[in-house]
Symmetry: C2
Subunit: 138 residues, 2 copies
């Protein structure tokens, strides 16, 4: 019998051979539930709300591990700290310069053009970041 429940970070980590401790389970659940792009601090606070024994060091270590596994994407918008999000389908960001709100979008034309550009420069495209910074039209 195959497992048809949606893939969670916890499953992905177990599959990667990691031990599943209480702290880790909590942090992964917080990330799975996040609909936004939380900072390390935010992940820490949300995790602490469930388990106050969780330390900042563990949050950092967990996020770094998830980044290395490619399960999460690390961003550094024009702020001096990192923000993370689940690595679901590929998309880009528009950051509201007034509120800091992050809007996600996808665009097939961008995907095609960036491939073409890398190719013309003699490179294989490995990764890409596109960030638009804008102000809400009044």
């Amino acid at each position: 019998m195959e497992d048809h429940t949606p893939d969670t970070l916890e499953k992905a980590c177990t599959r990667a051979g990691l031990k599943m401790t209480g702290q880790r389970r909590t942090i992964l659940a917080v990330l799975d539930e996040a609909q936004d792009h939380p900072s390390v601090e935010t992940v820490y606070e949300r995790s602490r709300a469930h388990d106050s024994s969780i330390s900042m060091a563990t949050v950092y270590r967990t996020l770094n591990m998830l980044d290395e596994l490619g399960l999460v994407v690390r961003h550094e918008f024009k702020e001096n700290f990192a923000r993370y999000e689940l690595n679901m389908q590929h998309h880009h960001h528009l950051i509201d310069v007034d509120s800091g709100k992050v809007i996600e979008f996808q665009n097939i034309e961008i995907e095609q053009i960036k491939q073409k550009i890398a190719e013309e420069l003699g490179y294989d495209l490995i990764e890409c970041r596109l960030e638009l910074y804008g102000r809400k039209r009044t």
Copy 2:
């Protein structure tokens, strides 16, 4: 008689009403001559080669000031420090993931599409970052 010599950072700063000290003149010249995307550390070293009295604090203060004036563009590629470049014509970057080399490129299609995307989301585009990360084709 108008001045037809190319615009330098020094002129732009003087025009902005800033005092032109020896240290500042040196740092601005270093940036004017830079053909790459130097880090703060690099700007510091190059400036020191001309005037060893220049301090790191002044380099940071100068770069922050130039950034605020929009004369320079601050980047944070996937490194944990900032890199700067003159704000000449608009372009994007392809970063060689193996060597860290930065290649600049421009693309009119990207410019059009990003405008369109911001518009569709109800935003006025203020700024934009596009970074491609790739590996040299063998």
